[in-house]
Symmetry: C2
Subunit: 250 residues, 2 copies
Amino acid sequence: MNEQEFLASYDPRAYPAVAVTVDVVALTIREGALHLLLIRRGEPPFAGHWALPGGFVRPDEDLITGARRELAEETGLGGERLHRIHLEQLGSYGDPDRDPRMRIVSVAHLAFAPDLPDAAAGSDADEAGWLPVTALPGRQLAFDHARVIDDGVERARSKLEYTPLATRFLAPEFTITELRAVYETVWGQPLHAGNFHRKVLSVPGFVESTGASTERGGARGGPRAKLYRAGDARLLHPALLRPAREEAVR
Amino acid sequence: MNEQEFLASYDPRAYPAVAVTVDVVALTIREGALHLLLIRRGEPPFAGHWALPGGFVRPDEDLITGARRELAEETGLGGERLHRIHLEQLGSYGDPDRDPRMRIVSVAHLAFAPDLPDAAAGSDADEAGWLPVTALPGRQLAFDHARVIDDGVERARSKLEYTPLATRFLAPEFTITELRAVYETVWGQPLHAGNFHRKVLSVPGFVESTGASTERGGARGGPRAKLYRAGDARLLHPALLRPAREEAVR
DNA sequence: AGAATAGTGTCTATTAGACACTATTCT
DNA sequence: AGAATAGTGTCTAATAGACACTATTCT
């Protein structure tokens, strides 16, 4: 910050007002499909359109705290349940005309949540719901939220490669098959069951055995599966890479 | 954004003022060491401390444009030279007390630049310079910029793994040895020359031959090296991974 | 001449992925 | 019984990395 800016900073109103909001791309997996928490707007602009949960950052909270608060408000969650949701900063969106009312810079966040009850308890009058990410109503998304969502989904796909965060989509105890379903759903492609199984167990700290097994086998047959919980690794080494995507390279 | 927030947004002054700045972690390589563009502050707060180049985002520019403008002001660069510098958003920093004057959310950016002339031509009265990233005066950094710089350097290290952006630290034509020096400098460890050479040439689209060679061999002997320029790949596949870092995993 | 470097050859260990197969549990 | 699934075995191709070596160019 140079001197001119420093002097100006004594009177922030010398600069046009900018508002800062925190928005959340909250992802979960329902019925084998990636879902996203959206709010249906009741008022213009973009009345009737779907928007990401979010709002102005408050004076006393930092950015991720604001995002967690918004997430709590819209999901009705608190305490332990809320803190098991993975939350990270995604990026900021600040094109001058992204909001027709005024200059708003949105700091978007990305959340991975296990399948949650539908009711958005502490929410307001607007309709809230988990919508499948594929088959989102492209033109029905408010502001630049389609782009934010795209960035969030791509970040999620990438994060599953080199972090153990896929477990955050699941209950504290899970089977390898459930974990594989997370990868298949987020990446949008089937994975080889046997190779996936061996790979997951070979990565140090990815999962650890609980010693227990499921009560029943699969609905259509098959043995009971062993149960695991998340291990202590923060990074997967070696990583679980997506099948090569030629188009992504050039 | 819910209704309450929507209504509030009609009068942004109903919320305490927040200012948005864009800051730049601009990295380059000089004399075999990673250097960073810093500005010495002339006025409080943090007078005499070093700070990242940056300033308020202007009403008519988006975030990355603001960052590019700040970079241009401090480096004195423009046109082609400026646009060869890689610039991406790094992340936003908005702890309520990160600036003692008022609530400021900083959208930090990360730049990779070739070695540039020292003069910060279009700059202001404050002193500007490229400082080595190791041996930065920890307590002499203003605001939370030490953390921003750490995040930027870590992002740079990671980006070199799976993108061809190391070439952005070099002139348009470079040798494989120069490219290896970039990796060694940013990662802070020596790499095996022979294996690196073969690996780089084996990644599709990373580099392409110019057909030419250097005029002279190395200063202390050795054959002339072939010259390459950046290829058309946007991602490296397979990636050039850093030697395993046990401590990073857990 | 002697040293340093560019670039290639070769071998081994690790990993990814294809495929096969057994054991278990479902309807 | 028949089908589906959990988990393991085995083989091959790709890759990382260690090491050796040649050819070239410097002082």
